[in-house]
């Protein structure tokens, strides 16, 4: 009971902070919008998706990937924000409190996941504009998947944060970890017909399965399914859940170790 209260406390703080950081919300929503508008429209006019039936728009393909991207950035940053808390001293207040460290790690994971999920959910409003049909029945499934991805990626961010001494390493992590995770996730181009080495990399990117799960749900019944989706839904869910569990374990252990 007391542990649940601690988890709730940490979660609540992340939500309060999120509701206050207007510029961060705008920034984190603006980025996917820019990608969708510029990259999406740019590619749509010059490239043709392999095997796609006529009338298929690249934007339809890219849309779930962009939602995945929003989750990726928001979730990982939420996790990494622990480094800021350490830098500004607030983390000490948390570490000296009479609650187990794992409750802090879990609270932080849930807080980051919730925030990332809310952000991504806002992007669902765009579905009609990019030619994706969104029926009310599938919205809960999508939110569930978003939460799962966000949970895995926030844990990942916390794990990274527990190994970072300061914000100096941040640019490195951005360039060599987060951007590759994004580009290799199948958000922008499908797995089919790629060089083998890239195919392997894409298969070990947790986000690949998250984005694929979203496509599985969004294009479940249409003719596009065969073109857009790479794995069966149960494989996607299994992999994402597995990754979430492994990563939250790593995050908790990593967080426990730090002083």
């Amino acid at each position: 009971m007391r542990n649940a209260k601690a988890i709730y406390t940490i979660w609540l703080r992340d939500l309060i902070r999120f509701s206050r950081e207007r510029s961060r919300i705008v920034g984190l929503l603006g980025q996917p919008l820019l990608y969708l508008l510029i990259v999406g429209n740019g590619f749509a006019s010059s490239f043709h998706l392999p095997y796609a039936p006529p009338g298929t728009s690249y934007l339809q393909f890219m849309y779930p990937g962009i939602i995945g991207m929003s989750v990726l950035f928001t979730a990982v940053f939420s996790g990494i924000s622990i480094v800021w808390d350490r830098e500004f001293g607030f983390l000490k207040e948390v570490l000296v409190a009479p609650v187990p460290r794992w409750t802090v790690a879990i609270g932080k994971t849930l807080g980051g996941s919730t925030v990332a999920m809310i952000q991504a959910a806002i992007l669902l409003i765009l579905a009609p504009f990019v030619g994706v049909h969104l029926s009310p029945q599938i919205v809960p499934a999508i939110l569930g998947i978003l939460f799962l991805i966000a949970f895995a990626l926030t844990s990942f961010g916390i794990f990274v944060a527990s190994r970072m001494q300061s914000m100096e390493g941040f640019q490195m992590i951005m360039n060599f970890l987060i951007m590759p995770l994004f580009f290799l996730s199948g958000a922008l181009f499908p797995l089919r017909g790629l060089p083998a080495w890239m195919g392997y990399l894409m298969r070990i990117d947790p986000l690949t399965y998250g984005v694929d799960a979203l496509r599985n749900v969004l294009f479940a019944s249409g003719p596009l399914r065969a073109v857009f989706v790479q794995f069966p839904i149960h494989v996607d869910l299994l992999v994402v859940t597995g990754m979430a569990l492994v990563l939250v374990g790593a995050a908790t252990i990593g967080f426990n170790r730090q002083t």
């Binding site: 309060i16 983390l91 409190a97 009479p98 609650v99 002083t259």
Partner: protein
């Protein structure tokens, strides 16, 4: 039973011994001070007592709880104000307090009353809904003290509570600290390198290079250095010295053309002196031993408050800038 008991506490960082076999006890209701220069090991000791650092050797108990084996019990019974700021600037004062109250499981029924009392004490009642990042350094410090008391700890640790603050705010903070003692209940353990502040403590441990070099009441410590010193100037120092030797049996030292007398209770001695030989005296200067003198005598070095506090103020300012 002592509320804080420490036995042979040691902390090594690689080959540096930051805390070297420190032992002492603090009694319930006491204001106990750790006085020492930068790097003496004050914060390291506090962190070990607060379960944040594992000792390399030795043991410590807070309110009877072992700081290594009973971490949660220890954490619940202490309040801690860190040397560096530890508030969330993006939360309001109230939210910072509520966050703390939940983590320390403060009964929601008593929380509003306690919160109000503490905010009144630190004079922040009218700023509860403002973001903490809009607070001045002194306001933040006061809020941290209120937060540290919110769960009614048995011991409140204050690591340099007044560093970088102006004299007026320092006085304020000391008023709260003393009022806590009058109300009873909470024991205060603080560190400082301000000599004048250390005077407010019931007992002081002087720590240098990780070791306690002296532990006593401020008065007791000052007695170690010796008597009060009275400096006199006169047009005819020789004759004055002779007269004083005759009438008071005091043999003075000649120093830079002045006459220096060592005596107990110099403040009482001066009127008597002047009544007898006043006409021959041009000026009088009384120097009572200070903790500075004690520190100098014990370590052979001055603690050099000014340069230290300037550096700290800088560091604190930088931190706040970054926020």
């Amino acid at each position: 039973m002592s509320i804080v008991a420490v036995e042979d506490l040691v902390k090594k960082f690689k080959d540096l011994t930051a805390v070297d076999k420190v032992g002492f006890t603090v009694e319930r209701g006491e204001i106990f001070g750790f006085l020492g220069p930068n790097g003496a090991g004050k914060s390291t000791t506090i962190q070990m007592l607060a379960t944040l650092l594992k000792p390399t050797g030795g043991r410590a108990w807070i309110d009877g709880h072992d700081t290594v084996r009973e971490q949660f019990a220890v954490r619940q019974s202490i309040g801690l104000v860190f040397q560096d700021p530890s508030l969330d600037g993006n939360l309001t004062a109230m939210e910072n307090l509520d966050f703390h109250a939940r983590l320390y499981n403060v009964d929601p029924k008593v929380l509003p009353v306690r919160r109000r009392e503490l905010l009144e004490m630190v004079e922040l009642s009218d700023r509860t809904r403002d973001l903490v990042k809009t607070f001045s350094g002194g306001m933040k410090r006061r809020l941290e003290i209120a937060r540290g008391l919110l769960h009614h700890p048995a011991v409140l640790f204050l690591d340099e509570p007044t560093v970088g603050l102006d004299p007026q705010t320092r006085n304020h903070i000391w008023t709260y600290i003393r009022s806590l003692r009058t109300k009873g209940g909470v024991t205060i353990f603080l560190t400082t390198h301000y000599m004048d502040e250390a005077e407010n403590c019931d007992r002081i441990a002087i720590i240098d290079h990780g070791q306690i070099v002296a532990l006593d009441t401020p008065a007791g410590l000052k007695q170690m250095v010796g008597k009060d010193i009275v400096n006199l100037t006169s047009k005819n120092v020789d004759r004055l010295a002779g007269e004083i030797a005759e009438r008071f049996g005091l043999k003075g030292n000649r120093l830079d053309g002045q006459l220096q007398l060592e005596t107990e209770q110099g403040d009482l001695f001066i009127p008597r002196l002047l009544a007898e030989v006043g006409s021959a005296v041009d000026s009088v200067n009384l120097h009572k031993p200070t903790l500075d003198d004690v520190f100098l005598k014990l370590t052979g070095r001055a603690i050099r408050e000014e340069s230290i506090s300037a550096g700290d103020a800088m560091r604190t300012m930088m931190k706040r800038r970054l926020r």
